[in-house]
Symmetry: C2
């Protein structure tokens, strides 16, 4: 395909009988250029619809004005909302956003990160994959000085800015809510144990049990290493719970995908008249359309994206290397609907939020 011709600074110079440097300076309003010349250049540039070539600029300035994003899956309410937050900041600050998906695979994550780095991104926003144990692909870039901000699924192994929801407290509230409702045997279906969010949520769950003198039982915790991407994994976890002797009366699910898959399985079980209290981490917008309406722990995804992006751009644009790092923790929101309520306890008609 023939590339379509573009107007360059040289063309303007030729047309106006000026050197490229004069045109360049005029275009950027340099004080050394006479008003006359400026006006001439500006008007002509406008007329022929001149646009500076960002590639050339990048080569010169050694930065691309774009930031890379790595998430596990776009088609996940949390991440699509976070991306909206990222974009809202990035575009206003003149940055492009390049989004990639790791599909919960360590290998794809590493490939994407490499790919982005070689595309000369100015900085990286990343939420780790559930498979990821080895962080060397990130450490290397971090040591070379690439600004990185972790969001949602963070790590202790790299010292930089981080942003998450308050997963521990969110889990605590959710679990305590189930306890208040009268559930005694609360199972926890969660994601890969490698993830920070998994650890934090488990912690909150444990603390709620402890506070209410319910003994913690490891048999009630089930890990899904693929974060619910593989439905069978979740089904297996649930089946083993309900066919074993522990038979929980409630479930607390961690993560968007796990939550919906669980609901699907529960629906089948409920057809057999087993009532199970349910709540889960999810950012779905249609939780109230579910059967039963879903009690959900909602994360401030949009804000997380925004904060992470602000931090990243601040790092990118900082004159001196940033050495003081911060981990921001944002509040979650428990939206109470019927799925978590004991049926004898009556129905609620409106979503309640604590």
């Amino acid at each position: 395909m023939m590339r379509f011709e573009t107007v360059t600074i040289k063309d303007i110079g030729k047309a106006l009988n000026l050197s490229t440097s004069t045109v360049s300076r005029a275009l950027r309003g340099s004080y050394e250029i006479s008003n006359e010349t400026k006006k001439l250049v500006l008007e002509y540039a406008e007329k022929i619809n001149y646009r500076p070539n960002p590639i050339a600029l990048s080569l010169k300035e050694r930065r691309s004005h774009s930031i890379g994003v790595v998430v596990s899956e776009i088609a996940n309410n949390f991440f699509s909302q976070a991306i909206n937050g990222i974009e809202s900041i990035a575009y206003n600050r003149g940055y492009h956003v390049i989004i990639t998906q790791a599909h919960e695979s360590q290998e794809r994550e590493a490939v994407n990160v490499q790919h982005l780095a070689s595309r000369s991104i100015d900085g990286l926003l990343i939420s780790l994959s559930s498979e990821t144990i080895d962080l060397s692909h990130l450490k290397e870039l971090h040591e070379k000085g690439l600004p990185i901000v972790f969001f949602d699924r963070i790590t202790d192994e790299i010292e930089t800015h981080k942003v998450t929801a308050d997963n521990k407290l969110g889990a605590f509230h959710a679990t305590e809510h189930l306890i208040f409702e009268g559930y005694k045997k609360i199972a926890h279906i969660t994601s890969s144990p490698y993830l920070s969010i998994t650890r934090d949520r488990l912690e909150g769950y444990k603390e709620a049990l402890e506070k209410h003198n319910i003994p913690f039982n490891i048999g009630l915790v089930k890990y899904c290493n693929h974060g619910g991407m593989i439905a069978e994994e979740v089904e297996k976890a649930l089946t083993s719970l309900f066919t074993g002797k522990l038979k929980p009366d409630a479930i607390f699910a961690a993560g968007d995908r796990i939550t919906t898959v669980c609901l699907g399985v529960l629906k089948k079980i409920k057809a057999k008249k087993v009532e199970i209290g349910f709540t889960g981490f999810t950012n779905t917008n249609v939780g109230d359309l579910f059967d039963p309406p879903l009690t959900a722990i909602r994360q401030p995804a949009f804000e997380i994206g925004q904060v992470a992006t602000e931090m990243l751009i601040q790092m990118i644009e900082s004159k001196r290397p940033v050495t003081k790092f911060e981990t921001r923790v944002l509040e979650t929101n428990l939206v109470i609907r019927e799925s978590s309520l004991k049926k004898e306890g009556g129905k609620v008609n409106n979503a309640t939020s604590v």
Copy 2:
């Protein structure tokens, strides 16, 4: 922020006492370079982890190996799935994908397109916004020779490759299904009348009515110009339907967002014991969790993304300007669940697909 130092071809040359051109040629395995030198260079490059600078390459080759994508909203099942399809092809072919959202606004669409074009994308994949009437921002680029492929929401005004679902037939099947179920007054809540998908779906709806000798009544068709992005718009449409004298007994919704908002409103109405048959275009994965389980017209979003990307890359890489254009139409899939079934007609337990 200090940019982090990268290894260049020059560094290799210096270290090995070779000119940059020799290194360059060796790296790309040129036949003119001796095996010895090649080996030397390759090994050294590997050792110091050399990566070519894609920005410099872009400047030289006058292409960026990236394609731009404009959709109305990432957080829409159809689009996030389509993007997965786009990525799956693009990455394999060595292209980056830059995603932008227009939020159904003509202005943001134009800004994004400009932005992408000025970032030297090699081609553009776009699904028009519901507001968009004026296509001059696209026409201009198209005339300049930028390869463009429309998907989903297409237009007649620009001659190029296009990919959509078979919206007309999908709408026909959905409407006919409601008719088979015994519904007589089927309302159609749809998106902006400017969109191709709106026109096609309306057409299919009309044809189904006609085939079954049900008179078309324009009063039963309600347009939501923001495609459901503004919930009030949809609520107003439904309220006017149910408070007017036409009182439909079923609803056929066009579009992901409209479908879920409709369901929310219907849920309230059903609390008042009004049974309404319902079906809608949506690519949600949790339609079976809804109350009632949702009869949905599903589009092959992933495949649409794939096909569009293949077409685009073919245009980009074609030696001569492409003049023969194609419009690919992919089949939709009607997944029948309870929401569209007459309650007296008994229940279905399994999703059925036609």
